[in-house]
Subunit: 373 residues, 2 copies
């Protein structure tokens, strides 16, 4: 029986990060751009950042990196997925406020440029642009041998929405239905813990995966065309799912005259990132969330929990556990929207509802709950 | 007499960087966003990237980092200027196409978050936002102990312009007048060479500057309130000048009915970055550039050239040499624009003109020229 592992013991001090970020933010003053002019900041309920005014529209910026998943990519010299991870982390955040992503820029810091690595990154970013339906509008590669010891990749996505159509969670109602969208694997969060578990069990990323990889509703990106067994590395580096299709199309459909529901019936959208299910708590100040029919987690989550001795509660506040995005919709249209979604993303599932339980997330089948992040 | 130093010997392989970036770009396919829709890419003469369509406007993204100047900030634990550097590198690029910067996001990668460092960065970014007149629309701090050994800082700026008012250099005419805007020091380029020279001469960043620091038209940001001699570190970390004021205001003035000239009389804008004067060559395919009355370089450039044994030619293709931005304007309005600019930025100066010399930059007083970058 291994020692219990958790995210904090993997070397990530969330409190210290929060304290550092708070320090930075508290140093900032109000924007110099007055309300009503391009670039004026827009404060929305739910604490969404990154929104600014632009005429009849709002523009939204999201910036994020791939994080320590890159260390596995470096170890294996496999870069075909990380451009997709980088794109996904940013555009999926934009979707949560109802913005359509339109452009992306990447930032790569390396100790020394390597044309072969960059060609692979370029191909990965091109595929990411195709999946997210955005223009790659620039990028920067910095050689910083005194600062980085291996490649760091981050990016910024730009999106837009119509004024008055931001999706923030403020219109949530009790009984709203939660539709979960399947993830493609671990996505891009929790890799400090993943790497610690792999090290702990003495596994190699090139080992065949010691578990049944069968998992519905996803493909694994192979490192090369091969009929050989999937490796642990291939499972762990499977790129993050980009949810632009179907979420952007759902919003456009709601805006159209083709349907009875409108954008205001899409009450909240949640990207399940580093905090796992606790991310839902950001969407509303008082309502709670009951997951009673969850999406089945991919086998790698079970394996990591087992060999790492990670408690179920810890798993669900660290990883997406099979469900990368949750959309809360008006109950009246939930079946319609669900049927629309599942045609575009097999594995989409009605997983629960908005409840009046004192701002908690309850995963009923497992009997676990979260009241803070 | 020290050995000759140049940028390549400082460990920056520009050819390798170019090759890596080419590899990345060649892997990219055409944008999936069709012409006429938000986010469709806009190709302009002069190779400006980062522009996309957005209704009656174009949006522009720029992404860049502070680079190895950060290593001096780390060595001295002095962060008050680097937020301004980061902002400047991005917004000054946006200005070159005639875009008004409106928003910015930062990306910080650290081995371990430090609230004190982040508070200083936050204050620096707040001052940068004030100077650039943009909204800080978000940011990300990543803890990546396996990837970075010290702090890396980059960012992305968003700007906009009216369709049809992009400033690209394509309307340049022979005889157009070059107005130089003074830099505040070394800005954020060439620091691999700077650091190598400092190491070569055995100087310490905390030594008093061994040269007369007097230099018109700039203030040095002191590390603390002090009447002590300026140190080498203070000179080297002086933040990059942000040119939004006066350039944005010049463009707005040109758009107004208050003046005889229009935006089309501002023919080209060049941010003097890592390539020094060679940056001008990007603005036009056939015309050349004659600098006959340059801005006086700051004393630190002379000192670095002398103690580092760096040839004059190398200095002018590595550093800004006192002039951080060059604006090419219609000769007919050049005196008017010059007088308008100098009231807002003392030290602005008419430095030369556009000539028909076979696409070269000639610095006449020094007798040096550049025909490629």
């Amino acid at each position: 029986m291994p020692d219990k592992m958790d995210y904090a013991s993997a070397g990530v001090d969330i409190d210290l990060e929060g304290s550092a970020v708070s320090s930075l933010i508290s140093s900032l003053t109000k924007s110099v751009r007055p309300s009503g002019t391009p670039g004026a900041p827009v404060d929305l309920p739910g604490g969404f950042g990154g929104l600014i005014e632009f005429g009849d529209h709002l523009l939204a910026l999201a910036t994020d990196g791939v994080g320590s998943k890159l260390q596995i990519a470096s170890a294996l010299n496999q870069w075909s997925g990380v451009g997709i991870d980088c794109m996904a982390m940013n555009v999926n955040d934009l979707l949560c406020v109802g913005a359509e992503p339109i452009a992306f820029v990447d930032y790569v810091a390396v100790p020394k440029p390597d044309p072969i690595v960059h060609a692979a990154l370029g191909a990965s970013l091109a595929e990411a642009c195709r999946q997210a339906r955005v223009t790659l509008a620039g990028g920067e590669t910095a050689s910083l041998p005194g600062i980085v010891t291996e490649l760091d990749l981050s990016g910024t996505a730009l999106g837009y929405l119509n004024k008055g159509e931001a999706i923030t969670g403020e219109n949530l109602e009790l009984g709203d239905i939660l539709i979960g969208l399947p993830s493609s694997g671990i996505h891009s969060n929790g890799y400090s813990l993943v790497r610690k578990i792999i090290e702990h069990v003495g596994a190699s990323y090139t080992d065949p995966a010691p578990f049944n990889c069968a998992s519905e509703y996803r493909d694994i990106m192979r490192f090369e065309n091969s009929n050989a067994d999937l490796t642990i590395g291939e499972i762990l580096l499977n790129p993050t799912r980009i949810y632009c299709d179907p979420v952007v199309d759902l919003i456009k459909h709601a805006q159209s005259d083709d349907t009875a529901y409108s954008v205001s019936d899409i009450r909240g959208i949640c990207h399940i990132t580093g905090g796992g299910l606790t991310n839902l708590l950001r969407l509303h100040d008082t309502f709670g969330w009951e997951i009673n029919d969850p999406i089945q987690p991919h086998p790698e989550f079970d394996w990591l929990a087992e060999v790492g001795g990670v408690e179920t509660w810890e798993m669900y506040r660290t990883f997406n556990m099979g469900c990368g995005m949750i959309i809360a919709v008006n109950k009246e249209f939930s079946e319609t929207i669900y049927h629309w979604l599942i045609q575009r993303m097999p594995g989409a599932k009605i997983i629960g509802k908005v409840v009046d339980n004192g701002r908690k997330v309850i995963h009923s089948p497992l009997g676990i709950e979260f009241s803070h992040y």
